[in-house]
Amino acid sequence: MASHRITFPASEADIRELRAGDEVVVDGHIVGIRDRTQIRIFDQGVPPPLDLSGALLLHTAPNVRKVGEGRYEKICIGTTTSARMVRFTEPLGAQYGVRAICGKGGLPDEAIEPMRRLGMVYLAIVGGAAALETTQIEEIEEVAWEELMPECLWKFRVRDFGPLTVGIDSHGSSLYHDVQEQAQERLKEILARI
């Protein structure tokens, strides 16, 4: 299992290097997004005012303090469960060129095929480790759709963001799928003996 350092926005070639289980540390810019943000983009058909090509999206609803017109300071920024938002994976890649999604708990198997086809990855963060995550976010540079607070579109500048684990790669491999398959096998074996 290799270790990588990637600056986002990233290219398809950067993403294709990554294999399930690899460690990734991120620098550059990432975009915070959540349920309501994506419902607005896709169900209500409103194009996002931030450029998402090559982006790493973070599933988050941050705790912030308002310090001026459209300006916010971080208090505590963590990550939410991704599975609820799986249906947006394919259109995010196909329509907006998103390269990576970072969240916790993984995406169901329906994300594997579009990620392979479009050259995307799912990066698993340690859920709940928000104190650390907050120190790795240097600044909130931009906020769009403030009326959806806290489910706005957030542009964060990050340094040493991670460590993240490649949960689903762009070659058809998913740790979540493999772990679940193996656990189901073990469960059968346990149930046969108890």
């Binding site: 988050t60 705790n63 708990g105 340690v126 709940g128 772990v179 346990i190």
Partner: protein, 298 residues
């Protein structure tokens, strides 16, 4: 009399406000030890990466005085009220609610409370029947213990109830717990505490499961049959290989706690309530004269 009432209500409110914030920032020692042990015994690369990140995060929360996890949850309190404690539970509830609001506004904390149908925010982590309070009444005592257990949604969403039939026996209980935790995968931020409630009725089984997650790690159920089930489930759950954050590994749960109530001869309910690795809790002991002593370990 009324002077004492006012002071006590203030003491309980202050205690609730302090507990809510404190529990979110400073996790108990038994949990810190359990996480450190887990990190020692984990052998998978991804699992070790997750656990060392969790330990680093706990340290950063200490030094930065920040929240361990961003999800401030719903505030759940467990109250043990002595029969001679001079403030009536109706007033204790009001004080807990006021304290929850104060903590949320003063810190400030993210408010998660919404109306279940309109999804509009209902207040600073309060609303109709929020916060949630579990009550226990203790004879021959004049004190009050308040334990605050903020409950995040990632783990609360992984709650399961099954009305097993008596013929399913204990095996049915074990099977349901195992299937629930395997099905939950990485979503509830494992490794955490699996709370299991058995017996009673459907609602009471889930209530007991929530009681179970609030127990310190290392405590065992005093009933030896139940304690044996705790041990067995702990072993079996860790054999599933779900691992830290569901990325595979040896440590799927830090502990399994079971609480039970006797039940009807044709009932065999089993409820599972998951508590994530950020198993936050903090307690205040309030005396009849309004002195408050804080206790991270209870």
């Amino acid at each position: 009399m009324s002077v004492v009432d006012v002071d006590l209500a203030g003491a309980v409110e202050g205690a609730a406000a302090h507990l809510y914030v404190w529990s979110l920032k400073d996790i108990p020692q038994d949990l810190r030890d359990a996480l450190a042990d887990a990190s020692e015994r984990e052998t998978s690369v991804t699992g070790r990466r997750v656990l060392s990140t969790i330990l680093r995060n706990v340290e950063v929360a200490d030094t930065e005085r920040n929240l361990v996890c961003q999800d401030t949850g719903i505030a759940v309190y467990t109250c043990r009220v002595g029969e001679r404690f001079p403030l009536h539970p109706a007033r204790i509830y009001e004080a807990l609610k006021a304290g929850t609001e104060r903590a949320t506004l003063e810190h400030p904390l993210r408010s998660n409370a919404v109306h279940t149908i309109t999804r509009e925010n209902t207040g600073p982590n309060t609303g109709h029947r929020l916060p949630i309070v579990h009550w226990e009444f203790v004879p021959d005592w004049d004190g009050l213990d308040v334990k605050c257990v903020p409950k995040g949604s990632g783990s609360e969403n992984m709650s399961f109830l099954k009305m097993c039939v008596p013929a399913d026996g204990v095996r049915g209980i074990k099977q349901f717990v195992l299937e629930s935790i395997v099905g939950a995968g990485g979503k509830p931020c494992p490794p955490g505490i699996v709370g299991v409630g058995i017996g009673g009725s459907a609602d009471y089984a889930m209530y007991l499961a929530k009681e179970a997650i609030a127990r310190p790690i290392g405590t065992r159920n005093p009933d030896r049959h139940v304690a044996q089930l705790e041990d067995e489930l702990f072993e079996l759950l860790n054999e599933t290989g779900i691992g830290p954050m569901g990325l595979g590994g040896d440590v799927t749960v830090l502990q399994c706690h079971v609480e039970h109530a006797d039940t009807h001869m044709t009932l065999n309910p089993v409820a599972v309530n998951y508590q994530c690795w950020a198993a936050r809790r903090a307690t205040a002991h309030v005396s009849a004269s309004g002195d408050v002593e804080y206790d991270r370990e209870a």
